[in-house]
Amino acid sequence: MSKLELTRRGLLRTGAVAGAGLAMPTVFASRASAFTNEPKGGVVTLGFTIPLTGPYADEGNDELKAFQLAVKHLNGEGDGGMLSTFSSKTLTGAGILGKKVAFVSGDTQTKPDTARATAKSMIEKDGAVMISGCSSSAEAVALQSLCQEAGLIYMVGLSHSNDTTGKDKKRNGFRHFFNAYMSAAALAPVLKDMYGADRAAYHLTADYTWGWTQQASMQAATEAIGWKTVANVLTPLASTDFSSYIAPVLNSGADVLILNHYGANMVNSLTQAVQFGLKDKMVNGKQFQIVVPLISELMAKGAGPNIRDIPGSSNWNWKLQDAGTKAFVQSYGKEYGAPPSQAAQTCYAQVLLYADAVARAKSFNPCAVVEALEGYKFDGLGNGPTEYRAADHQCFKDCLVVKGKDKPDNEFDTLEIVQVTPTAQVTYAPDNKMFAGGDLGQCNPGA
């Protein structure tokens, strides 16, 4: 592994500008390898970057559990989980390409800086050949660009922003999770059925990139079904008390409140909106409604009874009845005593997809893996027939519209599935204006 690169043209050019360049001897020895961290010997190491401290530590824990399970299954331990339902049969439980799978995990603190530091240590010290996991779009974008520079594959974890496979997409990065556009596209028709076409929406939006893309997607989709947009109010990211933003909603003439918040922000804003009694009010002769575009099981758990009857969208839910989901829930439930969250499912699927791509390409070389994944169609990982689109490395699959369950049977019974939105309805053109401005670039194998 040698990363010594004297770009000759740059040397000549800047050297000339500066008078005398810093001449470096070129007699460096190096261990020959075709790409970054080419696995030698019988073991291949994967790196999992997850938030273990900070507000998203619970998501991180779920991701880690899923990664551990996936590694177990790849190595032929346990019941094999989704290996048996996966449409590709290259994975037999004998590791990847006959190499035993090992992994390192590290904390990202949900901060892009720390995430990159952790990933770099995995690359430079532990010899990881692939990086996966994250719990925010900022981390996803940061890790994706790092892996592009270093010449590794990055399999995105939990990232919902349009930018990850839009403005900031990279050739070496792949996203299985759905995005803000898909959320809105899946949600809008259901909202029309539930609340009618004559509605006025008031948006509360977290004041940063993800919030903005989520809001723009929702506004476009709801206006397409005839809703009006009364206002879009940005809320500071450090807010824990949203009362001064929620209080003016009722006399604004709006009869739907859309909360473009995530995680603890969403738990607090929803709890406070319910506390204001918004759900019981009548406005414009209609029952007032609250919508949360992105809902996860962990957020639903945090919001408790306040989430009841609130609609939103999810990437996946353990109550789905396909063979892949059933196998995964059985396997995960036996291991950890609770059903998996959507974060766990997407991370598990990403590891399997990577391993399978390596097996099909018969090489760990990132460029070969990229080739194997681009345009790849598969099934049996819980989301139905899915395609990794070559143009932007986004997975296209069915999305779920869910809502908070009214009378839960048990502690895991927080959400119910309203509708499985078919792939065609959430598909968009790669040059859609919400995703414009990015460039995948060339694949980089490092070395």
Binding site: G15, G106, R116, A117, A142, L146
Partner: protein
Amino acid sequence: MLGLGKKDLTFLLIVLLLTLAAPILLNPFAEGSAMAQFNAGYPDLMQRIAIFAIFAVGFNILFGLTGYLSFGHAAFIGIGSYAMVWMLKLLTMNILPGLILATLMGGAFALLIGFVSLRRSGIYFSILTLAFAQMSFNMAYSVLTPITGGENGLGPALGDPRVLDAAAANGTIPEVNLFGLSMRATYELDLAGRVFQFNAGYYVCGLLSVFMFYLALRLFRSPFGMMLRAIKCNQHRLNYTGLHSRPYMLSAFVISGMYAGLAGGLMAAMDPLAGADRMQWQASGEVVLMVILGGVGTMLGPVLGAGFIKYCENIFSKINDHVLHEWFSIFPKWLENLLVTIVHPFVGQGWHLTLGVLFMLVVIFLPGGLIEGGQRIGRLIRRKPDAKGKAAATTPAE
């Protein structure tokens, strides 16, 4: 030589040698052994230690000499980083212009913030600096997104002009370099089962940090440094002598701001993505922790503190249950499980707990930081109840 006394010169040479040999010294355990987990000799961590050493040494010029505790120094790190990335985007992937601009921008903002904040002292000064830094962070994260990249951060992209560089070939962003020498260039030496990585980026950071260390050393020994110490001792008495102390304070603030700006620039040069997170108050708090943990007011203390915290952050957080089970697998199963249960809360996801406990222990028992700890151990080893040692230990009357 270099304007230093003989003792200081030896000191500086030792620091230089340690910096040059760090890739070897920090990699004491053979690859593949159970202890390899604790190796720190890989480029990213070494770069970070060097960068934070610059930051902490600069902070120490303000806090250690004048006693003014700033809670907003992370803002200068962020400003330096953004300046660097903008240079990488607009001008050239060569880091030199960026480093210069980052230092200047750090200084300029420090002048602005310092001019206002230094009108107050004590905790009022701390809160003013904190307020400015938090404002910068909040704005950078949301309102200023077009300039700072907001949540996603700011990094070089394929479509950037880069007027001094040749057009990017074959759809890849050119590597960050110094006159053609890529910052990622690493020479690996395989020796006795250990792999030593000599990385160009690290040597840039390391040599710069030694140079900045040298400048700080000169400053500590200069009349200007003496004046700053006088401010710490008794600012009122100083004012009564007819000296206007605020210009001195402001210079110290600006100098430490420039150190922070340079550190921010280097951070972005080693890893060209600048996020707003590095401006948050926790980041400002971290540098305070580093300086105090190492030993405030000492030369080497801040460097030690920076190394210690970065080491913990990167090494402890990576120890998961899997690793623990591997370590303890030589014991019987019940003992293995027991040991894992005991150790588990302190590593991996619990590394913050370890840091908190360690930190409290140091503050309680070693007020002078790790440096004092080292001195105490040194005295224990020598075990010479000589009068000379005692005389040195008693502080001169104030």
